[in-house]
């Protein structure tokens, strides 16, 4: 697999232009990224740092010196007529990543990660694609934005593995905060090199390169259909042609784009306008020490904390939500499951309605932690906690809400016993069941009391008193 990830730097790889997505065409441009005669590239150090972070996350060797090279070809979206990339001396090499299969963990080798600049965009006019278009316009806003290309070893053996590999790469990129991972918008793109061979053969077959897969599902489907196509060709006595193939999401099939004869000779050579890229030990150490936690480590920690697998998966799928969850738990001994319930339940529902944001939370993690702690201590009920959530969204602390609203907890026995007696008198049936030994019915009476007191009764006290009164009755 070859995965291209757009790095989330503020400025482009070789100039100071903004990388902001969605700006009016050709507004984020300058002499450098439009390839004006005489303009020269200057390397963005943040992009290098991001690439190193990915290299470290994938257990790569970070080369002390790497070389930028020019990849030469003509295309209207490529302003200089060459792309500045890395060729024989990339920034990161020899890494690996583990993916989880039903049969266990599988290790996929990572050959290299290198830095390169993106091209601009062609806007085809008069038709949806280049086919049938009357002419095309060039938008160079994207030109020169930073990309990393992550190349795997030929270790992937099925369409499912291919999908899992890309999913894993994406989640690491997102957790490192270096790529938004949006496949539809093209900030994460991948190409698959696919070949098949007879069982027992040690030689790989002729490969094809499949492009244009815009989702995880597409990665898997493209591999399935390309494997099937190759199988059919070979079984009918044909031969696989070394070529580039395009995946069409609608048909789920691949079609030939260009053969090897039409392939470019990119005439790579070292970029004379940039010095060799040096990574010194102190800088590397600094990056290492500030490396964020990765999904595998977080999963392990949450497993140790005995959070259910379904909750872990949900949290790992959304780093913002996870970071909030971690902030609530940080430094406090709280029941993680209860915190997860709030984060994945009420807060996520509010977030979906646009009433809450995990990145700029109106309920601070500290307030949420207070709330969970108060419920846990039995100071007030879960029901009451839910009821005061709208107040917390205004930025108030749980303690403030209690004081302001006059929400009082009914906690002494004398006040509560009348409610309990009332509940028992009104429900002779369950009382009978209790007397016959079905003690779990106590919960029913607790519920009745909480209802009657509009949630203001202290649950732990009610629990105790209900049993006492029942036993007396």
């Amino acid at each position: 697999m070859e995965v291209h990830a757009q790095l989330k730097t503020k400025t482009k790889l070789f100039c100071g232009c903004s990388t902001q997505f969605g700006a009016a065409p050709n507004t984020n441009i300058c002499p450098v990224c439009t390839g004006q005669p005489g303009a020269l590239p200057v390397l963005n150090q943040v992009a290098v740092e991001f690439a190193i972070r990915m290299g470290l996350a994938l257990n790569c060797t970070i080369n002390v010196q790497s070389i930028f090279a020019r990849k030469n070809y003509f295309y209207p979206d490529l302003p200089k007529g060459y792309q500045i990339s890395q060729f024989d001396k990339p920034l990161c090499e020899n890494g690996r990543i583990d993916i989880a299969l039903a049969s266990g963990t599988k290790r996929i080798g990572v050959t290299r990660i290198h830095l390169e600049e993106d091209a601009g965009k062609l806007l085809h006019q008069g038709a949806a694609s280049i086919k049938g278009a009357t002419h095309s316009l060039v938008d160079l806003n994207r030109a020169c934005t930073p990309l990393i290309e992550i190349v795997s070893q030929p270790d992937i053996r099925s369409a499912e593995e291919a999908r899992l590999y890309v999913e894993k790469i994406r989640s690491i990129l997102v957790f490192l905060g270096i790529c938004d991972g949006n496949m539809e918008e093209g900030s994460l793109r991948c190409d698959a090199n696919i070949s098949i061979r007879p069982l027992g053969s040690s030689q790989f077959g002729t490969r094809t390169e499949v492009k244009n897969m815009n989702s995880f599902r597409a990665v898997e489907q493209a591999a399935i259909s390309e494997i099937a196509r190759q199988k059919e060709v070979l079984l009918s006595g044909g031969a696989i042609v070394l070529e580039t193939r395009n995946y069409d999401d609608e048909s789920g099939q691949t079609t030939s784009m260009r053969s090897k004869e039409e392939a470019h000779d990119y005439r790579y050579f070292p970029e004379p306008d940039l010095l060799p890229l040096g990574v010194d030990a102190p800088w590397l150490a600094q990056i290492k020490s500030s490396q964020p936690k990765l999904p595998d480590q977080i999963r392990h920690e949450l497993q140790v904390a005995q959070l259910p697998e379904s909750d872990i998966v949900q949290l790992l799928n959304d780093p913002q939500r996870l970071h909030y969850f971690e902030a609530v738990c940080a430094g406090r001994t709280l029941p993680v499951k209860k915190v997860a319930n709030w984060v994945l339940g009420d807060l996520s529902a509010l977030a979906n309605e646009g009433k809450f944001s995990f990145t700029q939370p109106s309920v601070s993690p500290a307030h949420m932690a207070d709330l969970v702690a108060l419920v846990e201590a039995g100071t007030f009920s879960g029901k009451l906690a839910k009821e005061i959530l709208p107040d917390l969204l205004q930025g108030k602390s749980p303690h403030e809400v209690i004081a302001l609203k006059g929400v009082k907890q009914i906690g002494n026995d004398a006040d509560l016993i009348p409610f309990i007696e009332q509940a028992i008198q009104s429900n002779p049936g369950p009382l009978e069941q209790y007397k016959n030994g079905k003690t779990s019915v106590a919960g029913f009476f607790v519920g009745q009391v909480m209802k009657a007191t509009q949630g203001q009764a202290k649950p732990d006290v009610v629990n105790r008193l209900v049993r006492e009164v029942l036993d007396r009755s």
Partner: protein, 490 residues
Amino acid sequence: MTLPLEILSEALQSGDTSAEALLSAMRSRVDNIEGKVRAFVNTHFSEAYPKAKHMDHLRKKGEPLGSLAGIPIAIKDNICVKGMPTTCSSEILKNYRPPYNATVVEKLEAAGAIIVGKTNMDEFAMGSSTENSAFFNTRNPWNLERVPGGSSGGSAAAVAAGEAVFALGSDTGGSIRQPASFCGIVGLKPTYGRVSRYGLVAFGSSLDQIGPLTRSVKDAAIVLGVIAGHDPKDSTCSTLPVPDYTAGLNKDIRGCKLAVPKELYENPGVEESVRKSFDEALKTYQALGASCEFISMKSFDYALSTYYVIAPAEASSNLERYDGVRYGLRVPADTLKAMICNSRSKGFGQEVKRRILTGVFVLSAGYYDAYYLKAQQVRTLITREYNEAFKRFDAIITPTAPTVAFEIGEKSSDPIAMYLSDIMTIPVNMAGLPSISIPCGFSAGLPIGLQITGKAFEEAALLKIAYAFEQATEYHKKEPDVPSVSASEE
């Protein structure tokens, strides 16, 4: 009109002349002789006048002014000046106006210099006679039937003929020094990385360097002081501090050790008159207390062929941006490929196409190791041999060119003969060293140049050695007698 910068600066400061008067004098000089010399691709006097007046106004008010305030200068047409065409003397950029200034232009303008025109050159700086300009030939002010050298032929001719006080050129394989030699002026190629290349239209990026063409060594020192220094826009530009290059010029050079590489001195292409002048120069140096020793630099034999692998390789890539898409010449066609092909076929001249083809070939799959990689290895050897020599010597001296200025058309049908014109200058670029050409004699009325090459980033020492020779000789005081346009028409 051929007074050096140092004297004109003093006259401006003392009030003996004004920037406006100087500009007017320059303009009438250009009006008089430019029709003969044809040094400029375009001139910009009308934009220059308000600047000169402004400079005079500031001076009257006693405002602090830059070291080049009010000095009219010329810029080679491959250096970007915002608002002026930058054509590289090529059809493909004929109507191109850069949206930005080269760093050297920013520095010169900040120092108060006034740009009066962009000078003719070999197309994209590829050539040694300025005959590869897509527009017209520039003539040598010393003999209008002769070439001014190249590729900075327009800059050299303009300075020699008094059409600019000094000019900037660019030097990839000798393009400042060889035309300086042919036109009897001073041409300085600084160390690679001493002057920012930002805004210099690239030819061979690892070899290109901007430098001044001036009327005296001191002028070269003054201009270098203005244009040198770190530029955050050029990653290959050195962060070393810039010394005052004029400060040590007067120091004597007794005990200075000069080396003469036999491989160049004994080259059969060196004309007798050139060798004689060079021998005289050695005697002059000995009289000044310097020693001269012949040494062997074996790798120099391979310098020319190595250069003609590396420079075209880089050029083939640098020139890919001229595709008719964003700027420059576009020849419309039915398909994208045909549009690019037609634009480049019509937009580039013969020599440029020859070098693109060479460059594409040496970089192509299967040939890279045999040509490009091998050439880089030889380049390392050349650099190493220089380093060895500089352990024992202060400078290396040779003639700047094997011949004096040749006749227009004499070599244009024989590219190899033309390439040999740069045999003395090319090894220097391979090692990125600073090198200067100064006048050292005449043959049948045509100037001869002496090339002195110094240690990396030690331009001050190099200039001192050049200055001592200049002060001890009279060659730089001679001026060409260019017949004016009107005079010849009578």
